[in-house]
Subunit: 135 residues, 2 copies
DNA sequence: GTAGGGATTGCCATCATGGGAAGGTCAAGG
DNA sequence: CCTTGACCTTCCCATGATGGCAATCCCTAC
């Protein structure tokens, strides 16, 4: 299977497959006589695994760790779980930050008349001298 | 006021102030005889405005638009409101995506025994042939 | 004069991803 | 045999907001 087929089968672009190889996330595949990379179905499974991990928001280092645990038959599920728990915590932190933004903005939007007059509480907030850092 | 003072007064790093100048977000300030940039309190207010907009997650183009509206005394608050509404929608979309990730992950974490055995539903999910695209 | 702190510019790096150029390979069909 | 088209290869460039570093200059204080 060449890189195009592996790409279609895994949902990872050929560009990214080469990139993952360059950073050592996947090992370099064998080459055919014409220097084409050749992939096995196992390689494709690995790529799908990576794709799925990335879709779930895992960072590259986390993905690498998960991949290593996946390959390791003597792993402890506790190690996998720890990575996932940490990632959930990270996601929740980011969600909370963005939620705080939307809460503030929704309030301001609610207070803004949104007509053709220039007065605007949104701009007032942005321009305000208040210490927005204080929280 | 030189760039260091403007930085401390606005909460924007000197590096970023120069960067904002280079991309045209703020205009180039006057220079003293020794080629130092010199800023007015009005410039600092603009920087604080930018800082606040960035803290609320507005993109650079949105920030630019908001800044322009702020300077424009004949603006309609509706224009400001539209940008904010769009941004809230963007944030909510991203929050929903991340929420979907956490929901999936929390479920998997819940199902994972997290002991020293290798069996792990988290890895099973990542390795699964299922079409995770289907939604 | 010298030390220190701040300013200037410019270059490099991030991180995951895409775009594109220049050139090799291969199969099908005239 | 030659062309066309669809692959593949490598290499370079760009993103966006930010930090870091280096060389050089300026000013003030001792």
């Amino acid at each position: 299977m060449n890189i195009g087929e592996a790409s279609r089968a895994s949902g990872v672009s050929a560009k990214m497959i080469r990139y993952y190889e360059s950073i050592g996330l996947i090992r370099a595949p064998l080459r055919t006589g014409n220097n084409y990379r050749v992939y096995s179905t196992e390689d494709v499974h690995r790529l799908r695994f990576i794709r799925r991990a990335r879709d779930l928001g895992f960072s590259m280092p986390e993905t690498e760790a998960l991949l290593a645990l996946w390959q390791d038959r003597t792993r402890s599920s506790a190690d996998v779980r720890a990575i996932a728990v940490q990632h959930v915590a990270d996601l929740e932190k980011r969600i909370a930050e963005m939620q705080a933004m939307t809460d503030t903005l929704r309030h301001l939007v609610h207070c803004c008349s949104g007509d053709d007059r220039p007065d605007c509480p949104i701009l007032n907030d942005l321009a305000n001298q208040r210490d927005h850092h204080g929280h």
